[in-house]
Amino acid sequence: MAKQQIYHALKVDQDICYGCTHCMNVCPTEAIRINEGKARILKKRCVDCGECLKVCPVDAIYVEQDDLEKIFDYECRVALVPAVFTGQFPTAITEEEIFSEMKELGFTHVFQAEFMVDMINNLMNEQIAQNDEKPLISTFCPAIVRLIQVKFPALIDNIAAVKPPVDASAAFYKKMLCKQGIPESQIGIFYITPCAAKIAAIKGFGQNTNEVIDGVINMSYISNKLYHKIKNRKDSLKDLPVLPHLSSKAVQWSLTHGESDHMNGRSLAVDEIHNVIEFLGRLEDEEIPELDFLELRACDQGCAGGALLQGNRFLTVERLKIRANQLENDDEQNDDLQEYKDILQDKDLFITKIDPLPAMSLDQDFNEALKKMERIRNLMCYLPGIDCGACGSPNCQSLAEDIVQRKANLSNCVFMQRMMEKNRKLSGEHATRIIEKTWGNQRLDKDCSKKGAKNEGM
C-alpha cells in the first residue's frame, strides 16, 4: 500500500522538550510516545488538533508557519483575517484600528475570512436537503475532518462537500483583485490562523491542497506584534480602511453554535475534541436519533479556543457577541450572493472526495490483526493497568499494542521491571538503562534546575 504523505503543522522542539507525559496523556488519538526523553508524534494518527500544544508546560510543541517576511514576495499582500482575531482585542479598539495596524505590518489589503458565510450557509442547507447520509457534518473544522478520516472512516460520507468559508472568501477576493487588473502572480493571500489544523489543511493533506491561499501566519505572532504597536502608538491613525459589510451571523460563525443556529432542520453543535470523539462513537452506533446537521469543533468554544489565540476564550466569545450585536440592526440577507456566485467556480466552493485514512487498525491483514490482538489480550494479563505512562506509551493497552508492533518491550513497564528484578530476570543496572532509553540519559540524576526544582530558571 502506498504511503500517504500527510502534512502536519505540529512539531516538537527537540531542544526544549524535556519528556514529561502531559501531551501524551491528552492526545485524543493516542498519537504521542516518549522515546529517549522526547515526545514523538505518530504522523499517521495525528489530526493536528493542537491539544498537545495547549497542554505543554514548556512550550516545546510549536506550529510550522510561514515567516512574515514571506509576504514581501508579493506586490499585493492580503491578510485574510478570521473574526476571532479581532475578538482578542478589547472592544475599545475598533476593527478599523486593528486592520489599519495590519497595514503598518506590511499588508496592502485586509479581508475577512467569514465574508462568504451567507453563501456557504445556503449551499450547506441545499446539501442538507439532498444528502442521503444524515446528519451532514460540517467541513468547517479541519481537525474534525482529519479525525473522521483517521478514527471514524464509516462516517466519511456524512462529511459535507461544501468548503469552509475561508476557502471561498480567499478565492473570491483573489478574483476581485484580478478584476481590478492586478496579475494573479503578484497577489499573495495570507491566512492569519487561530490553530494548527488550518495550517495543515492549507498546506495540504491528500489531494485537497489549497491553491488559493499562499501562506499561513500564526495568529499569536501577529496579535502580539499588533498589540505592542497599538500600546505604543503616539500619533493618531491616518486613513482608516473601509471594510466590507460582515453580517452578525458571519462574525459569530466560528464560535460554537455559529453554524448550527442557521441550518435547516434539527441541528446540534458539539465542541472540544474529546466530546466530539464520544459523540461520533455514539453516532456510529446509530444511538443518536435522526439529526440533519452536525457542527463539530475540535476546540472548546469553537475557534475562540484555538491554540494560537492570545486572549481568554470566554472573553473572546463575549467580545465577538458584542460586535455582532452592534451589527444586528442592519443584518439583512446579502443581495449580492448571485453576483458572487457568478464570480466563483465550483472548485472554489466544493471539496474533492475525502478518503478514509484509518490509523487505528493493528494490521492491514485481518488474520495478522487477529493474531496481534490475541497477543495483546495475553500481554494485558501481565500489565498492571495503572496507565501511568512511565513506559513512554499513554496507557497499558497502548503499550501492549506497541509491543506487538515491535515498537516497545514488556520491560518498558516500570512495574514489570520490578517483577523481573524480584525474579532475578533483570539487573538493577539493566533496568536503569531501559528507563534511560525511554526518558533520556541521566534522567534520574539529581538536577536542581529542572521545572519546579529549587534552582529553576537560574
Binding site: E284, E286, M360, D365, F366, A369, L370
Partner: protein, 136 residues
C-alpha cells in the same frame, strides 16, 4: 477469539458499552467500516433489548477468520410469539421505556437487516437467546 460482556437489565446509562467495546475491537482488526457499522448497529439493538426487557444477560462475541458470531443470552420474561416480535412496529415496551426513546418496535427487524444470519429462541419466564452471524 472470544469476548464476553455482562449486561444489566434496566440500566440504560450503560446500554451500548458492549457495542462500543466490540466496535473498537473490530476497527483494530481492520474489518471494513461498512461491516463494522452493520454489526455494531445490530449488536446495539440487541444489547438495548436486554436492558429494556430482561433482568440480566451476557453477550459473547466470537471472532475468527471467517465470521463474527455473537450470542446474547438473557434471563428475563422471554418472547411468547417470536414471529410477532419480528414484525416491524410491534412492541411490548412500557411507556416509561418509550419515553426514553426506546421501544419503537424496530429492534429485531433492524437486527435481521444488519446481519447475515439471525436465530432467536426463547422460553417464556426463562429468557431469550439471540444468535447473530456475520460472514467476513
Amino acid at each position: 477469539m472470544e469476548f464476553v460482556y455482562e449486561v444489566e437489565g434496566g440500566d440504560f446509562t450503560k446500554a451500548g458499552n458492549a457495542s462500543s467495546a466490540v466496535k473498537k475491537t473490530l476497527k483494530q482488526l481492520n474489518v471494513s467500516p461498512k461491516i463494522v457499522k452493520r454489526i455494531v448497529v445490530a449488536l446495539y439493538e440487541a444489547e438495548v433489548n436486554i436492558v429494556a426487557h430482561a433482568y440480566k444477560g451476557t453477550i459473547s462475541v466470537n471472532i475468527n477468520q471467517d465470521q463474527i458470531h455473537i450470542v446474547l443470552d438473557d434471563v428475563g420474561p422471554g418472547i411468547p410469539d417470536i414471529d410477532l416480535a419480528m414484525q416491524e412496529g410491534y412492541s411490548t415496551a412500557s411507556s416509561k421505556v418509550r419515553e426514553m426513546g426506546f421501544g419503537a418496535g424496530m429492534g429485531l427487524p433492524n437486527i435481521k437487516k444488519n446481519v447475515d444470519d439471525l436465530k432467536v429462541s426463547s422460553e417464556v419466564d426463562k429468557g431469550t437467546k439471540v444468535e447473530m452471524k456475520t460472514y467476513l
